[in-house]
Symmetry: C2
Subunit: 384 residues, 2 copies
């Protein structure tokens, strides 16, 4: 198929910041794109060729949208999977597949998938309702503390809670969930694997993530991770194994824990461009967004090495501000060498909302880390 002609159409489900960054690369290759998103103010509305406003969870909306394209991909997991399954049967190429998405959308299914495929992950239990957790605690088959995760629609830290006592339990919704053993870890790591339909695979260097303790959102992503070669290889191997198990096409971001004993456990995966790969725009030979397009179109994959060290800082809304967004001190961070802000274009800020990110690149990763801290101190996402 000739992707570089206007006869070909690539569909993207979701029109948020990830889609916006994907569109830079479809524009670079002049690939015709159609985007479906519920918001008429979606960041993707400009820069795509065709924009459709509609509900990503509605069967008919997704099906009708998908019928109009040749290859369909996502920038968000929460889409109607039944529609994708029907589209696949009718010959539309859907990456990630409905099967992969069905597994990933439900955290209990995802955990069972790891167990079935001998992929290391923290021990867990599965519960249909909250009451079952109480029963398990009563019967001493579950002990405090543990990590509670809602099975469905967990995103960006919502739907995840460390439960230390009965009072923590009270706040939780009565939904299908899993509980995980709380395992002390040294580091959170991530590896992005790219795989095209021919089964060709490339992986990006292991990155290290630092989380904001309160918001449970990534604060710094550091590439390369400051870990031993052995630990890096172990993480890469597990990510490759996960990729092979899913037979996924596109990107698979594999988030992992490095335990105190240097074991690697899979936390969760995302079958799309990922926050832990944003630094690749400036730091890598091939950005994760270009790579995702190459993979879903079954083009040759690009080189995944880094040109320079890269750090990514999320720009999230400051705690006490809600309203029309202002990026305070953005000009002073732009005066620092190797610092690039990315503004997603959301007009309203609220506490901890993802409003953008800043990439810091430097030949020396420790120097990049120092600059990143300065960036973090200076820039504030506030309101007018």
């Amino acid at each position: 198929m000739n992707y570089f002609s206007s006869q070909f159409k690539l569909g993207i489900l979701g029109g948020g910041q990830l889609g916006k960054m994907l569109l830079n690369d479809t524009r670079k290759f002049d690939i015709h794109t159609c985007v479906l998103d519920p918001s008429n103010e979606a960041p993707c509305k400009i820069a795509c060729n065709e924009f459709v406003q509609g509900d990503l969870m509605d069967f008919d909306t997704v099906y009708q949208f998908g019928k109009n394209v040749d290859v369909l991909t996502i920038e968000i997991e929460n889409v109607n999977v039944n529609a994708l399954e029907k589209l696949e049967k009718e010959g539309i190429k859907v990456y990630p597949t409905s099967k992969t998405l069905r597994t990933i959308q439900n955290k209990a299914k995802q955990k069972l998938f790891y167990v079935d495929n001998n992929l290391p992950t923290a021990p867990f239990s599965r519960f249909a309702y909250k009451d079952e957790i109480l029963t398990a605690i009563e019967h001493q088959t579950l002990e405090f503390p543990f990590v509670w995760k809602s099975a469905q629609f967990g995103y960006d830290g919502k739907g995840v809670k460390v439960v230390k006592s009965h009072s923590d339990l009270e706040e939780l919704p009565n939904v299908e969930c899993i509980t995980e053993t709380l395992i002390p870890f040294k580091n959170e790591l991530s590896v992005i694997v790219a795989r095209n339909a021919d089964g060709k695979v490339k992986i990006y260097p292991v990155v290290e993530m630092e989380f904001h303790p309160e918001a449970n959102q990534v604060e710094y992503v550091i590439c390369p991770a400051r870990i031993s070669k052995e630990v890096a290889l172990k993480a890469e191997l597990i990510a490759l194994k996960a990729s092979a198990a899913f037979k996924h096409v596109g990107l698979l971001a594999v988030e992992m824990f490095q335990t105190e004993d240097d074991d690697i456990l899979i936390n969760e995966v995302a079958p799309r461009p990922h926050n832990s790969g944003h630094h690749t725009i400036e730091a890598s030979y091939t950005s994760q967004f270009e790579q995702h397009i190459r993979a879903v179109l079954n083009l040759p994959l690009g080189k995944t090495d880094s040109k320079v060290g890269g750090i990514m800082v999320n720009l999230v809304g400051a705690e006490d501000y809600t309203g029309n967004v202002v990026y305070k001190n953005i000009e002073s961070i732009m005066a620092m060498d190797g610092v690039t802000p990315h503004i997603y274009g959301k007009k309203q800020t609220r506490p901890f909302r993802k409003m953008g990110h800043v990439t810091i690149v430097h030949e020396n990763i420790n120097e990049a880390r120092r600059i990143a801290e300065e960036v973090k101190k200076k820039i504030k996402v506030i309101s007018e």
Copy 2:
């Protein structure tokens, strides 16, 4: 002024491939853009916030467009300068200024500017009509061979001719023109200077250009140029001097000849992102497009060092093909490490039409040059 709000509007005159690449960076910073272009199929039509179809040489069209924005810039020099002058008087920030554009639009004025400012350039004569050239030859004040250039609207090699005999003269149009002494040179070099309204200046490393002998279009741009440190410094100094003389704001690409005696002579300048800076997207800490936006918005300028060596190969229409474009072997060049095609999105090809470019990056510039030759041999811009 808060550029990062929807109250601010950046206007761009011209909606071609340079504008398209500028828009990637306005999108990255979420800066509101308005584009004016005569073609309803302009590459910029998507990705800008507001698109206006109209004649760039028409006073009213440019004036009305300019009244609607806060800062106005260009991606092509041939625009109505009188309209820009009126806009400047009414407080719109226009970069490059009408004065700079008036000087650059006319090659005779441009040459006189170099002479007035002690900037080295090849000796020349100015003629109002072709007949005056014949008279000069008769009176032996002009000798074959010489370079003929039309004073107005020269672009991409059109309007430039080496004249060796009376028969070469016959083909030339009867327009205002200059003739230049034909000076044997070793290299064509280019330096891009960025200057913001505060007068802060940064320069990119000197690049070396190889031209296609027939089409008189750049075939390879090589960064860094493979020249001695002394020659590089001389070229950088002259570029800085030119930038200061114009007091320009934005980018100024200064094209120069390195003579056989290692003298540097200015060939011509372009007050905008330039073909000799396309490799900066992949090779530099700050792309020329981001830098142009930083400069015209009077933001701090970004670091101009290279992360890796970069080569740019123009993708021009093959000689014998006209019609719906096909990029033959694009997939095989994408399989090479560090190779990125940029497709401008023009649907029709014709001989020597600029259809895109390919960037090749590598830590070792000689290795990049080797890969660039392979790319050049493989990819062909043909028609269906």
